[in-house]
């Protein structure tokens, strides 16, 4: 949250690169700071984000790993540094289920 506040306090960021954005940025900074403080305190008291991270902390052994990585095409001139729908870190989000045999 401190980082967020520091970013907010940077007048260059608030200016957004054009003169017309500047007064809006200044006006929005106060309420945004207030909302961040509210959410930070509320989270510390209610702890709704706390959970046991079973997916990384359970006792697990991995074996017989088979990997296949094959280039299928080349994309040119894409904007954004991440591919659309990347989900390798969203472990709790389920995708289309397939039936496999053991």
């Amino acid at each position: 949250m401190i980082t967020d506040l520091m970013i907010l306090a940077d007048p260059m960021l608030l200016a957004g690169g054009s003169d017309g954005d500047y007064p809006f940025g200044v006006l929005a900074a106060g309420p945004i700071a207030g909302i961040l403080v509210y959410l930070g305190i509320y989270s510390r008291y209610r702890n709704k984000d706390k959970r046991y991270r079973f997916e990384s902390e359970s006792k697990v052994e991995v074996g017989n790993m088979m990997t296949r990585d094959a280039k299928i095409k080349h994309r040119r001139r894409v904007s954004g540094s991440r591919m659309g729908g990347a989900n390798e870190s969203r472990h709790l989000e389920r995708v289309r289920r397939m039936q496999i045999s053991g």
Partner: protein
């Protein structure tokens, strides 16, 4: 969590296929219902001492523990050898009609009736001896194993007091003024603990940046990337040890409820230290009855297997700097092993004014991990939020004013 796509097997189906081959592990103690006697003097005045971490006889002062559940039930066999589906004999489906039981006192011959859905011990009203339910009645009240308390009540009260104390400023008044240590209770909560031998497969796409460059658009530059797209497939075996799922409806499921997320966030428990169940461990504590069966939680467990699989794969795809999009996933469950284990929790609940949600602070009765939900006074919190908001707004306003004056002068 999401549901299976139409036409594909529903969640939990892989587990159910394995369940078709079910074996029952006998986890019963060789003790009849009624008098559960001290092995040394024969007294029934047996309790559990957290200080001694053992059952003790208040008559002859001897102490002992029931055998380690994992070893005595033969659960220390390698998970890799698991095939089919094994259930502890106390993990069979709960029957709601089995709530009353008659115990015959072996001391005087009296018949004593007790409601075994919420009571596993009673005193004989004639000879005052303590009678215990030792058989695995199908009410969900008797587990396969119990993980006894290791953290003292005094330590739990101190931790709960500290938890509230560090959140005093914005808490509702009834929380800070009304902390009553006498309302901290030791509760055993039922978990289904599962070992799994599964095979997992995932298919998706991954992208690697090959070139990054800037193109001029009007008076500014835009950054673009070229990337190679790869088909990414992973197939592997997972041996999962002691994955625990809450098996009491009131604490399971929706973690948006204050009670649920508090209790569920107290994990992990060292369930490998659980001992064979004896109702003497519950003496002086309350316990929650299991009311969820394996078939009620198997979908959640299968989702957890998949989540674990996804987490374990992450290090194998770090080369894809633009990320990986998993598109298909599946598990084949070769074997599972389920036990019901009671785990210890120190629980403190507030008595809210009418209409307010009940909030809990709970302490893991083994590790001391403390978690809770403290109701917030919205008035105090809004006031506290307005002050820094106003200060930041005023400071930036001044800064903006100075910059505009500076620009005007230049």
């Amino acid at each position: 969590m999401g549901q299976g796509a139409p036409g594909l097997p529903a969640l939990g189906e892989a587990t159910r296929r394995a369940m078709a081959r079910t074996a029952v592990l006998d986890t019963r103690r060789p003790v009849a219902d009624g008098l559960d006697k001290c092995p040394r003097c024969g007294s029934t005045e047996i309790g559990y001492s957290i200080t001694l971490r053992a059952l003790y006889c208040s008559h002859c002062r001897s102490r002992w523990n029931e055998p380690n559940a994992e070893r005595s039930f033969g659960l220390d066999a390698p998970i890799a050898l698991l095939r089919g589906h094994q259930l502890g004999s106390a993990t069979m489906d709960v029957r709601e009609d089995a709530s009353l039981m008659t115990l015959r006192c072996q001391g005087c011959g009296a018949d004593v009736m007790l409601r075994v859905s919420d009571q596993l011990q009673a005193r004989c009203h004639w000879c005052r001896q303590k009678l215990s339910v030792s058989s695995q009645v199908a009410t969900g009240a008797v587990p396969d194993a119990v993980l006894p308390f290791a953290l003292s009540r005094e330590e739990a009260v101190r931790r709960i007091g500290d938890f509230i104390g560090s959140r005093r400023r914005f808490a509702k008044t009834y929380v800070t003024e009304g902390f009553r240590p006498e309302n901290v209770f030791g509760v055993y909560i039922p978990y289904l603990v599962v070992d799994g031998n599964v095979h997992a497969e995932l298919h998706g796409k991954g992208e690697v940046t090959t070139r990054t460059y800037q193109v001029k658009r009007g008076d500014h530059y835009v950054t673009y990337h070229d990337a190679d797209v790869h088909q990414v497939d992973r197939s592997f075996d997972l041996l999962i040890d002691d994955l625990a799922v809450v098996s009491a409806r009131s604490f399971a499921g929706n973690v948006a409820r204050a009670t649920n997320h508090v209790v569920q966030s107290l994990a992990p428990y060292d369930t490998d230290q659980a001992v064979a169940f004896s109702s003497n461990y519950l003496s002086g504590f309350s316990s929650q009855r299991r009311d969820l069966d394996v078939t009620d939680v198997d979908q959640e467990v299968e989702d957890r297997f998949l989540a674990i699989a996804r987490a374990r794969l992450e290090p194998t795809v770090v080369g894809y700097d633009r990320g990986v999009r998993w598109e298909h996933e599946g598990v084949a469950v070769r074997g599972t092993r389920w036990l019901t284990v009671l785990v210890p929790v120190w629980l403190y609940s507030y008595s809210p004014p009418e209409g307010d949600e009940v909030h809990y602070i709970a302490v893991n009765g083994r590790s001391g991990l403390t978690q809770g939900s403290v109701p917030v006074s919205q008035g105090k919190l809004w006031l506290a939020s307005c002050v820094p908001g106003a200060l930041v707004g005023a400071a930036l306003g001044m800064l903006g004013l100075l910059l505009m004056i500076g620009e005007a002068l230049v």
